[in-house]
């Protein structure tokens, strides 16, 4: 027990690990409530995504952008409510690591698509 308490005492002092609650993390009801809010928001966003993908109620060309925005929103919900990545001062290391990861992901995705699209345009039709 004492070693566990050591972990949590230090936890409330400065930083906290990703996935840990900012508070002491012992209050079960509060913790469950946080996950319930996250689950509710995630279900809502997922349901809207699936609904909007098949609907004809909105302007069709707008749907891909709407789906991407909904996905990014849901990833944000997961990060905040499930992984407990917040903007608090005890979370700066985690957020900075995440920011760097997002930068690399952005470079890989946009760079690949941009370069491959250009190559495709400049290659011309292939004759077998």
């Amino acid at each position: 027990m004492s070693s566990t308490d050591g972990d949590y005492d230090a936890l409330s002092r400065t930083d906290h690990a990703p996935g840990d609650e900012p508070a002491r993390g012992r209050e079960v009801a509060e913790g469950v409530l946080g996950y319930l809010i996250g689950l509710g928001l995630a279900i809502l966003l997922t349901a809207v995504s699936f609904f909007i993908a098949g609907t004809f109620l909105v302007w069709r060309p707008s749907i891909p952008i709407a789906l991407v925005v909904l996905a990014i929103a849901q990833i944000g919900v997961h990060l905040v409510f499930f992984l407990h990545i917040t903007t608090g001062p005890d979370n700066v290391n985690n957020v900075l690591a995440l920011a760097f990861g997002v930068l690399i992901v952005f470079l890989i995705l946009v760079g690949s698509l941009w370069i491959m699209y250009n190559l495709n345009q400049n290659m011309g039709p292939m004759t077998m």
Binding site: D7, L11, G54, A71, I75, H78, N93, L98, G101, L109
Partner: protein
């Protein structure tokens, strides 16, 4: 965060966190960071590198999505009904995994074992639907060798499925370790890492069901 301090006893779960010899000269202000924070942070870095790996698969898929070589496209193959059930399974498993993490911190056996059992069942449900979908696609001649699109599809979604499979094995290991050794600090650190891993798999699935299935099948 004095990370070099932690390197000394990294990997040996039986030693105490904040004790042991430490040169006072390199201690600056708040003292050594708890091992739980260092382990969690290190695992978070690993997960981000895993996400970077997935982003390369996503980029490959996005480049090759139209190269069907005359074979079936996503519109012909994807069944959004199945995907919705898979999504529900994984989202609920992420939620119950969170409950298990709370249970492990509170030393609450019902919450921990119940949450882990539910997580396992939802994860298994997800995996069996996915295997069924893959088998159906291969059965109708749309296996990974059919076209560049399908190669990229099976690489991306299969890699996520492989992660889920490994996660389920890890889950069983954590249940067994808590059962055998109790809520010890080192075991709880592993539970923390497992929970992070499982939540991250759900985040990657959000990207997969949006980019691969919803954008591929309809819009």
């Amino acid at each position: 965060m004095t990370a070099f301090q932690a390197g000394a006893d990294f990997g040996d779960g039986r030693r105490e966190e904040t004790q042991g010899p430490r040169p006072e000269a390199i201690m600056d202000h708040a003292g050594p960071t708890a091992k739980r924070i260092i382990v969690g942070y290190g695992f978070w870095i690993f997960l981000l590198s895993d996400i970077v790996m997935f982003s390369a698969f996503f980029a490959t898929y996005a480049v090759l999505v139209n190269e069907t070589a005359g074979g079936p496209s996503g519109k012909d193959l994807f069944d959004l009904h199945n995907v919705a059930i898979e999504t529900a399974c994984l989202l609920l498993s992420s939620f119950t995994c969170g409950l298990a993490a709370i249970g492990s911190r509170a030393h609450n056996g019902l919450l921990y074992y119940g949450g882990m059992a539910a997580t396992f069942l939802f994860g298994l449900g997800f995996l069996s639907i996915e295997m069924h979908e893959f088998a159906g696609m291969v059965g109708q001649g749309a296996g990974p060798t059919r076209s560049a699109f399908l190669s990229a599809f099976f690489t991306l979604v299969g890699c996520h499925g492989l992660h889920v499979t490994l996660g389920l094995l890890w889950l069983l290991t954590m249940v067994a370790q808590v059962f055998a050794k109790g809520y010890r600090a080192d075991i709880l650190r592993r539970v923390l890492c497992f929970a992070l891993f499982w939540h991250t798999l759900d985040i990657i699935w959000v990207a997969i069901f949006t980019v691969v299935y919803l954008l591929g099948a309809g819009a």
